[in-house]
């Protein structure tokens, strides 16, 4: 990759480390290049918490600005993507607290954490090829299923399974215990499985253009 405007003064560094070091020295011109690979994940984290596209975009931008202003606090032992997402989650949680409906969601949030979740649907599942995601219809169904989850399940699921934070990082970002993350994650995964099983039976997962002799599973 051509990097004409950057002097790589430490060949042992990755491109990301070099960009971080530059930003920490106050050279912010290439900050967008640094955060660009993560902009989608940052947006998704904000959206998982706020459920409103324009709020999520605004918070994503605020989080990037905050990361820029605090770049000197970033320590190399952490993953930059994780650090960015944690800032984003924090910004999004603060934004939600300021909003009125947070009170209502908070009440909804307290019930039903301890009860066991029993899978409802035992239809035969096979591996769904990721090519299915090429279809907008499939992506939309998955997004709708996710949006229908209660907040506490959705947040944990997005951070762990979509943002790829580990269990501990997820717990820290949301300010909850590791045990809570595990409980909520289990339930979120099982609920999504049940919600999507219908799609499997109705065929919107399996109606895929695989006729040309390539069997995906």
């Amino acid at each position: 990759m051509a990097q004409p405007n950057v002097v790589l003064n430490n060949p042992g560094m990755t491109r990301e480390q070099e960009l971080i070091a530059q930003a920490q020295r106050g050279q912010n011109e290439l900050f967008y290049e640094l955060v660009r690979p993560y902009e989608r994940r940052v947006y998704a984290a904000a959206l998982a918490i706020l459920r409103n596209e324009s709020d999520a975009e605004d918070v994503a931008q605020e989080a990037m600005l905050k990361a820029l202003a605090n770049i000197r606090q970033f320590r190399a032992e952490a993953r930059f993507s994780t650090w960015l997402i944690q800032i984003t989650v924090n910004e999004a949680l603060m934004r939600r607290r300021r909003e009125r409906n947070a009170v209502m969601e908070g009440i909804d949030d307290r019930r039903d954490e301890e009860g066991e979740y029993t899978p409802r649907d035992f239809a035969d599942w096979r591996e769904i090829p990721s090519e299915a995601l090429e279809r907008k219809e499939v992506r939309q169904k998955l997004a709708e299923a996710l949006a229908s989850l209660d907040r506490k399940y959705r947040e944990v699921f997005v951070l762990r399974d979509m943002e790829q934070l580990n269990i501990q990082e997820t717990a820290e970002a949301l300010g909850i215990s590791i045990a809570s993350v595990k409980t909520r994650l289990l339930r979120a995964r099982l609920m999504l499985r049940d919600l999507l099983a219908g799609g499997w039976e109705q065929g919107w997962f399996s109606r895929l253009p695989f006729e040309k002799g390539t069997k995906p599973w």
Partner: protein
């Protein structure tokens, strides 16, 4: 502790998420593996959950509004750098500015002459007057003068003191005689000589 030989469906469901994370001990894992071989329902739950994790973990599942990246870049360019500079600047300038204000205040307070802190040194009344120069003040007037100045009021109530004492008592230099005295002194034609260059507040 779960008995490796007999793990039931409920126990499998409770642990299935951790199983997929690789976060169960070897005994439970073996028991669950055995269970999956015989229980179609739990096998279905396992495969379905695995699909959920894999599909949602795909980058394509994250869709951003059109123009998102462009708007982010613009905002970073517009306010990001400014804010960053401000943050850097303010982090050290605020305490430094506070120290300067305090130091200035102390200097003014400790000075034996009353100076206006916001005026340039050259605009300070009495700038350049030798501190121990003998000057004349008179009652009922606010100025101090070079002895013999024709503009001294109430000559019968004259007092003599040094310039520093006069300023400490609140007298200001006579704009006529003192200015002329300083002009001549600066040109080097007066006995005041090199002392003239010393600031009134130079001590």
């Amino acid at each position: 502790m779960v008995n490796q030989e007999s793990v039931n469906c409920e126990q499998v469901w409770r642990a299935i998420s951790s199983y997929l994370e690789g976060d169960v001990d070897a005994g439970l894992r073996a028991a669950m593996d055995a269970h999956f071989r015989t229980c179609a329902r739990c096998k279905s739950v396992l495969e379905g959950t695995r699909n959920v994790i894999r599909l949602y973990g795909d980058e394509r599942m994250i869709e951003v509004p059109s123009g998102f990246g462009r708007r982010l870049e613009r905002r970073l360019a517009r306010s990001g750098r400014v804010r960053s500079r401000w943050a850097t600047w303010s982090s050290w300038m605020v305490p430094v500015a506070a120290m300067l204000v305090m130091a200035g205040g102390l200097k003014v307070a400790s000075s034996r002459t009353v100076l206006h802190p916001l005026m340039s040194a050259h605009a300070q009344p009495g700038h350049g007057i030798p501190p121990d120069m003998i000057v004349v003040v008179s009652a009922d007037a606010k100025e101090f003068h070079v002895p013999g100045c024709p503009f001294i009021h109430n000559k019968n109530k004259e007092r003599t003191m040094t310039a520093t004492e006069a300023q400490r008592e609140g007298y200001v230099p006579c704009v006529r005689c003192m200015r002329k005295y300083l002009e001549v002194a600066a040109a080097g034609h007066t006995e005041a000589g090199p002392e003239v260059s010393a600031d009134a507040d130079g001590d």
